[in-house]
């Protein structure tokens, strides 16, 4: 039995711990001091102060210019670097799945209905500093399903980590692809022209569906039968559901821009191996690009001319640039390496960090909540041991909405960062690109 004299301090400790871990029981205020803070919204701050209250950032600035509340717990981060939580605009963690092999266009398939939030990929992502991710179905279809934007908070279900749109619905985009991956035997397309025709036909049908709904003018008896696929396509056509488009070759990239022009959807280009060949056209179309850096060209025809130069070429052209992991094509734990290779090829360090954070947030229509360290935004940030673009730098801590979700000093978390026997279980042995989507 606990002696009465000890009971009170123990209870206090427990309640304090609960407040820290839950981040919601009462106002929890933390002030990180001494670090180099890179807010992205403004110039890097030497000896900066970051103050968070519960799940929100309340102040960012230089030491002396920021009032640290009296009740704040001060965290000494001297010598460290703090950046916004990373936004991975294209990931396949969570054993994500979408369309099946029955048809090339399946907008009704929702990634929402497939995610395993206990997948080890989620922990790898946190170990890499990722706090927000766009979970996508594969590129083996022209349209493989509705993607979902997730916040990597502690959650027991997909609903508990999904971003919600202002109207309360789950936030996400629409995954599309052209080029080599969706080419298969019928009913899949066998040529590029066929692929584009199939997509155009679907959008035309969706336009007609919209016209019927408008003509019904609220009269339920005149409404067309509900069509889950067309309902999702209407969201694409009205701009509330972003298209996330796998594309590599320069002419495939231009085909995406042509279809965007015809149907007026909003689109982010993904992978974009030959972006360096059509950087001006991409910039002129005002279309953002989410790049991946692959360590060698090839692997398939459409990736023949991929080049580290994509990032600086797009920056020079004035296009919005982001990066993604395509996890497990590249490992989320090494996400910062993507932007570092952009810098290697000539991208500015400022744009490279923006690409990993704010640019990704914009691609997911989440820039009001995340992507920078600013008052009022979610308290999502990463504590690094040094320069974000150095191979020697470690991710020390990843914070999501004011909760420390990864802590390298914790042996279990460190094991996730390093790997090891039985660490990444349930296994991420899910060969997403190799088998699930059948596009070798």
């Amino acid at each position: 039995m606990t002696k009465p004299s000890q009971a009170l301090p123990i209870m206090l400790t427990i309640s304090l711990l609960a407040a820290v871990t839950a981040g919601e029981a009462g106002a929890e205020t933390l002030a990180f001091t001494g670090a180099t803070i890179m807010p992205v919204a403004s110039e890097p701050i030497e000896d900066g102060v970051l103050v968070i209250e519960d799940a929100e950032i309340v102040a960012v600035g230089a030491a002396g210019s920021v009032r640290v509340p009296r009740n704040a717990e001060v965290v000494d981060a001297t010598g460290k670097v703090i950046i916004p939580g990373l936004v991975d605009s294209h990931s396949h963690i969570g054993e994500v799945a979408g369309a099946d092999r029955s048809a090339p266009i399946q907008p009704e398939a929702r990634v929402l209905d497939s995610i395993n939030v206990r997948d080890a990929g989620v922990r790898r992502a946190l170990a890499g500093g990722v706090t927000t991710a766009n979970l996508m179905s594969g590129s083996g279809h022209l349209m493989s399903g509705q993607t979902i934007y997730v916040k990597l908070r502690d959650g027991n279900s997909i609903e508990s980590i999904a971003y919600k749109r202002p109207d309360g619905r789950v936030a996400g985009g629409m995954k599309m692809a052209n080029g080599t991956n969706p080419r298969r035997d019928p009913p899949f397309p066998g040529t590029r022209a066929k692929a584009a025709a199939l997509v155009r036909q679907q959008f035309v049908a969706a336009q007609e569906y919209a016209a019927k709904i408008e003509a019904a003018d609220g009269d339920a008896s005149k409404m067309p039968d509900r069509d889950l696929g067309k309902e999702a396509l209407l969201e694409v056509l009205d701009g509330s559901r972003m298209v996330h488009h796998h594309t590599h070759r320069h002419d495939d990239i231009l085909t995406v821009l042509r279809l965007k022009e015809e149907f007026g959807f909003r689109v982010v280009l993904h992978h974009v191996s030959e972006a360096h060949r059509v950087a001006d056209e991409i910039a002129a179309a005002g279309v953002p690009v989410s790049l991946i850096v692959i360590d060698s060209p090839g692997g398939k025809l459409e990736a023949q001319y991929t080049d580290f130069e994509n990032a600086p070429a797009l920056e020079r052209a004035g296009a919005e640039v982001g990066f993604h992991t395509d996890d497990y094509v590249t490992d989320s734990r090494l996400f910062l390496r993507q932007a570092a290779f952009g810098v290697r090829a000539g991208m500015s360090r400022e744009k490279a960090l923006e690409a990993m954070t704010l640019a990704g947030a914009r691609m997911l229509d989440l820039e009001d909540r995340i992507g920078t360290l600013e008052r009022g935004k979610d308290a999502d940030f990463v504590v690094l041991s040094g320069d974000p673009f150095s191979v020697y730098t470690q991710v020390l801590e990843t914070w999501v909405e004011g909760v420390k979700r990864f802590d390298r000093s914790d042996p279990d978390d460190r094991a996730v960062a390093e790997g090891g026997f039985g660490v990444l279980q349930p296994s991420t042995a899910f060969e997403f690109h190799g088998y699930a989507e059948g596009h070798r």
Binding site: S296, L301, V343, R344, E418, G419, T428, E431, H433
Partner: protein, 411 residues
């Protein structure tokens, strides 16, 4: 016995083309000879394709008229200790994926030199980053997939490029060699069967070798009918050719050690994802490890891999080299410079990483008399960088092979 070894070795010899040897002086703000202390403001002088001198600029005279190249950092040419580059077309098209023959479980008679495409674009890609020597050949996936080769990353033909025509015999132990339900063959269908088939084949080769030796001792006895398969395994049994054993899970690594001991053969462990569980055993057996790419995906039999394995093996005194590995999709090849680099945030020191991609790899491959360090008499192979070679934002700026500047791309 001696006669046998010579004749077997001769069978593997290739006509080696006249290499374009050249003279060049490379000045480095910092030179890492690897087998000696770093030299600031140094010069490497290469004459006739070989290193003639290395030292501080004040001590190494640069002859008039010689080509001079400058770089911030100079290292020995890097070595990729296991790859399939050159065996496999980089666009994954049917008809040029020659890294694995699936018709039989054991085909040690297959020679990489008969498939190696010296003009494959990924060879140039590796060369751009300072990789000057690669150990390439048949990949994992069958119990015995074929003979590997060692080549320089320059040269228009395999004869121009090759350093060692038959370097190792590539083997796979464990689930990597097990047939799946979709395969036409039934065997091997289990781990035990893999080991049993490999042991039976080595026993057959031992008999073949015994018959060969008996015929040499006794003129009355005829040598066995010549068998290419048995000849190549006989060279493994005599210790002339190491067996390169790909094994990832700890039980499969144990099987590799067991078979090496049973037959008294030299093996090199390849991949070895769970080798950190058997450090004492591997060290005691004196077996080197060509570790999987650090950035390999933790899937299948590699699901338990760790970024820290290289550092843990090296700390224990086990020789370790890096490999670009065996990829079927993207990236089609990895780059050992990048693979070694990411272990720097997981316990490996700069010096350990640099040694692993140079002199340690050369020793494991048995070519350290020629490459792996900057020393007089060795091949004139250098890698040039504008900063710390492993840093993400550093550029490779030049590559020298046999005294020829074969790349001056900044990448």
């Amino acid at each position: 016995m001696k006669r046998l070894l010579i004749s077997l070795a001769a069978a593997c010899m290739l006509p080696v083309g006249a290499a374009v040897a050249a003279d060049i002086a490379v000045r480095g703000e910092r030179i890492y000879p690897v087998t000696g202390a770093p030299i600031d403001n140094g010069v490497v002088l290469i004459r006739d394709g070989r290193i003639a001198a290395v030292g501080p600029a004040s001590e190494v005279a640069v002859p008039a008229g010689i080509q001079v190249v400058d770089a911030a950092v100079v290292t020995p040419g890097l070595i990729d200790a296991h790859t399939v580059v050159g065996m496999v077309g980089y666009l994954s098209q049917d008809g040029d994926q020659d890294q694995l023959e699936r018709s039989e479980a054991m085909q040690p008679e297959l020679r990489a030199v008969d498939a190696y495409n010296a003009r494959e674009p990924l060879i140039e890609w590796l060369r751009t980053f300072g990789i000057t020597t690669i150990h390439s050949g048949h990949g994992p996936g069958e119990i015995i997939s074929g003979q590997t080769l060692i080549a320089k990353t320059s040269g228009d033909t395999v004869a121009d490029a090759v350093v060692v025509p038959s370097a190792m015999v590539a083997a796979t132990i464990g689930e990597g060699a097990v047939m799946s339900g979709g395969d036409a063959r039934q065997s091997p269908g289990t781990r035990s069967k893999v080991a049993a088939m490999l042991r039976a084949e080595l026993l057959k080769a031992r008999k073949y070798l015994g018959d060969m030796e008996a015929s040499e001792r006794d003129d009355e006895k005829d040598p066995p009918t010549r068998d290419l398969r048995m000849e190549s395994l006989a060279r493994v049994l005599t210790g002339d050719t190491p067996l390169l054993v790909t094994a990832h899970r700890h039980n499969d690594i144990s099987t590799a050690l067991r078979i090496a001991e049973e037959f008294g053969i030299d093996i090199v462990l390849d991949g070895a994802a769970e080798s950190y569980l058997l450090i004492d055993e591997i060290r005691a057996a004196g077996i080197p490890v060509v570790i999987h790419p650090a950035m390999a995906r933790a899937s299948g039999e590699r699901e338990n891999l760790s970024f820290t394995t290289a550092a843990r093996l090296i700390e224990a005194g086990i020789p370790v080299a890096f490999q670009s590995g065996f990829e079927g999709y993207v990236p089609k090849t990895r780059v050992v410079l990048f693979e070694a680099a990411v272990t720097l945030q997981h316990g490996l020191s700069f010096d350990q990483a640099l040694r692993a991609v140079t002199i340690e790899a050369a020793r494991i491959l048995g070519i350290d008399a020629r490459v792996g360090s900057i020393e007089p008499g060795k091949d004139g192979d250098l890698a040039l960088y504008d900063g710390d070679p492993f840093e993400y934002t550093t550029h490779a700026v030049g590559t020298v092979i046999d005294g020829v500047l074969v790349s001056n791309v900044t990448k």
